[in-house]
Amino acid sequence: MTDSEIMAVSRRLLAPYVIPAECPYLSEDQQELSRQNLEGRSAWMAEWLLLADSAPHAFDITT
């Protein structure tokens, strides 16, 4: 692929897009995520981090 082709393909994924419903690799969560813009994707990730950090096995680097 040429540089401009791969850059165009990459740029498309940075904007909201639709993952086909029958995609064998990705969950409904990921299908919803792909429809978000970058701001929405950033907020989504922060939400997941909150959930992960509240898990009982969360690692504390201060100990």
């Binding site: 850059m7 897009y17 690799y25």
Partner: protein, 267 residues
């Protein structure tokens, strides 16, 4: 609330580091992963970029995790640097850095094709796929997903034919792009063109995946063979750092001394 890794990325940029988001956070940015437990960056192999990152991490009270000093002398061997800290938001942040990511055939080309938009710098999709050909099985779902959305859906036959990971979608790609398929040297594609049995195609895909995983394992084994007593010595050093709350610049200085042994044992 924002992704703290993207905020950290902006801090690196503002400090003057030339960095690209890669691996898990790149998947988040591209919309195919909801979450990644750490942040991976590819760094321009220059002291200025390394020092800028160290400056930002020092401000956050970061500590070294097991890895080499963040300095081109070690990074140019393909080795990686790792840190962690607790962010003001309470998130545990883990950061990984390299300058020579595995399986990228042309580093300068990767830098040239990087996406730089909206305060985000991220590797291109093809480089991300190459990076993700690791020893971990779960990464191949990500590769398949990228090949589907960027290749099959994005009308990019080369990405689809080279990286799709399952029978159904690959056979659809072969039917859609017969000319490109005929020029593709991938075993599973060749079998589909010959109307081989599904089991043969599936086997070819599985063997290809396993070959990639073994290649990555061999690469990691080779890296670990450079380490010698480094892991043990690092663990002792880190225990001392935690006892006496050694700041990052001093950790960096001490680690540079410790890691000289790696340079002496390099192949």
């Amino acid at each position: 609330m924002k992704n703290p890794y993207l905020e950290l990325h902006n801090e690196f940029r503002k400090a003057g580091a030339d960095v690209l988001l890669s691996s898990g956070q790149a998947c988040v940015v591209f919309g195919i992963a909801a979450f990644s437990k750490d942040g991976d960056w590819i760094v321009r192999e220059a002291e200025a970029s390394c020092n800028a990152i160290l400056g930002v991490l020092r401000q956050h009270g970061a500590q070294y995790r097991l890895g080499v000093p963040l300095h081109p002398i070690w990074l140019k061997l393909g080795l990686t640097s790792h840190f962690e800290f607790l962010a003001d938001s309470g998130f545990r942040i883990r950061t990984d850095f390299c300058t020579r990511p595995p399986r990228i055939p042309d580093l300068e080309r990767m830098w040239k094709r990087a996406m730089r938009i909206e305060n985000i710098d991220v590797v291109d999709v093809e480089s991300l796929v190459q990076l993700k050909q690791t020893r971990r099985l779960r990464d191949y779902s990500i590769i398949g997903a990228l090949a589907e959305v960027a290749g099959l859906e994005g009308n990019s036959p080369e990405l689809a034919l080279t990286y799709l990971q399952d029978y159904e979608l690959l056979s659809r790609a072969v039917k859609r792009w017969p000319v490109e398929s005929a020029a593709c040297s991938r075993r599973a594609v060749e079998l589909l063109l010959k109307n081989a049995a599904r089991s043969e195609v599936v086997s070819a895909l599985a063997v290809e995946q396993d070959d990639r995983m073994q290649e990555d394992q061999r690469r990691i084994d080779q890296m670990q063979s450079l380490a010698g007593d480094y892991v043990r010595d690092f663990t002792s050093l880190r225990t001392e750092w935690r006892k006496t709350k050694v700041p990052l610049p001093e950790q960096h200085r001490q680690l540079m001394i410790l890691a000289r042994g790696i340079l002496e044992t390099k192949p």
